[in-house]
């Protein structure tokens, strides 16, 4: 099975970090994976996106043109990528920042007020991981049991103090009832 994930939003929302979390988790699970960031000048305050492919077989293209899973963390990203999601795919929307509904009717949609929740909970900047938590709940391409190890790996020894807040954000997303 191959899962193609596209995470998109503003630069500074932790788009690439969310992707790195999935990549690390994939690696710890022994899956084939690729992680490809957008690296244009638009990263500075503009839009950022990141393609993650997880598979049981060697990966061809690392570029996600037709995502199975789309995370839209701002309106321009939803506008740009909504149509590219495969029928039957899943879209996660940060409903604090995006005030419109998804137009597609052939996809699963989860609205998570991630940015608002992160601010309320005093973990601003971790809206990305709240959405990741919801993704862990609703999608089964990676097992829940792998989360702790993956968070530990992706925050690294140098920033081990960030382990708890990242876990908190994931838990908030995982337990969020829409």
């Amino acid at each position: 099975m191959t899962t193609e994930i596209l995470i998109a939003g503003f630069g500074g929302q932790g788009i690439l970090f969310a992707g790195k979390f999935l990549a690390n988790m994939g690696m710890l699970e022994g899956r084939y994976l690729s992680w490809l960031p957008s690296y244009g000048p638009e990263m500075r305050g503009g839009t950022a996106n990141c393609s993650v492919v997880l598979s049981d077989a060697p990966i061809g293209s690392p570029i996600v043109n037709r995502p199975d899973v789309l995370v839209a963390m701002n309106l321009p990203s939803l506008d740009k990528y909504e149509d590219s999601v495969v029928p039957g795919g899943t879209i996660f929307v940060d409903s604090t920042l995006i005030d419109r509904k998804v137009k597609r009717t052939d996809v699963r949609v989860f609205y998570v007020p991630a940015t608002g929740t992160a601010n309320e909970q005093g973990i601003a900047k971790l809206a990305n991981m709240i959405i990741v938590g919801k993704m862990m709940k609703e999608c089964d391409f990676l097992p829940y049991s792998g989360i702790e190890n993956a968070v530990r790996t992706v925050v690294g020894a140098k920033h081990a103090d960030l382990f708890d807040v990242n876990m908190k954000a994931i838990d908030l997303g995982y337990n969020f009832e829409s």
Binding site: K20, A23, N24, M27, G30, Y32, L33, S34, W35, L36, P37, Y39, G40, P41, I59, G60, S61, P62, I63, N65
Partner: protein, 355 residues
Amino acid sequence: MENKVLMKGNEAIAEAAIRAGCRHYFGYPITPQTELAAYMAKRMPKIGGTFLQAESEIAAINMVYGVAATGRRVMTSSSSPGVSLKQEGISYIAGSDLPCLIVNVERGGPGLGGIQPSQSDYFQATKGGGHGDYHLIVLAPSSVQEMADMTSLAFDLAEKYRMPAMLLADGTVGQMMEPVVLPEEKNVEFTEKDWAVTGTKCARPHHIVNSLYLVPEELEQKNFERFERYAKIEETEARYESFMMDDAEYCIVAFGIAARVSKNAVLAARAEGIRVGLIRPITLWPFPKKALKDASEKVKGFLSVELSMGQMIEDVRLSIGCSKPVELVNRAGGMIMSPEEVVAGIRKLKEGEAK
């Protein structure tokens, strides 16, 4: 599994170079290869190596020339516009028969171009680039693993044949992360070479590194000798990967990231019942001519898939003596084709052939 690390392609080149015994890096920053230089800046001082950010690409390649003359492993890296600046120095290094590694993480051109991935420096890399008759050994990695493995290989081949080697990558392979098994640390102990400029200690005749020969007979002889070596390389060092070619009626030729996209296209086309395969040149010089020639006896047509206006397609046509149709699927300027665009190209090739 436990030996695998998650790394960017650019970083994998840097770490692999260090493990291959490279202790001298000279460069000048440019997107999308900057992580390579940044990695070297961090690591080299800790292991007694040299990282130097030169005042320009031209200065950097001439520093490479200097270290190469001493027989030590040395490298530089840049992206397209920066590699253009290095061409004079590369020609001098080739003309002096010295080994070194040059990495080009290509971006769109010409001119200052853009910063998104491209393969439009194919001609420059494989047909000379600088002035005079010479070649580089050109390797085209298509994964982070190959970024690491081919770095080691490039140093070995460069040293074996006493000529510069180039890794021709692109912004995608440079920026992406994949799990990679890094090569073992090589014994970096320096072996004296019978051509290296290391000081005679008044105990041996001078070794002279030079690319200036004012006597034409002598210069001609140098060129003849160099091309005898090139002929041997063309015979023995061509490398390629063959993917689903056994029963293929059509053959895609693509390298680097275009080959990754093409693999998806091969599977999609086969799901439609079109028997297509892929030959992925791993060495762009020497080009795997024989593999294509052999394939041309079995397939009905070829599709060159490139991130350029069509450069490698000329080598595809030459390799098969224009005996079969060769079509092009391409994007340029930093754009990348989708697998669907490649499949459309295969369908078109099939329809054209049916007429």
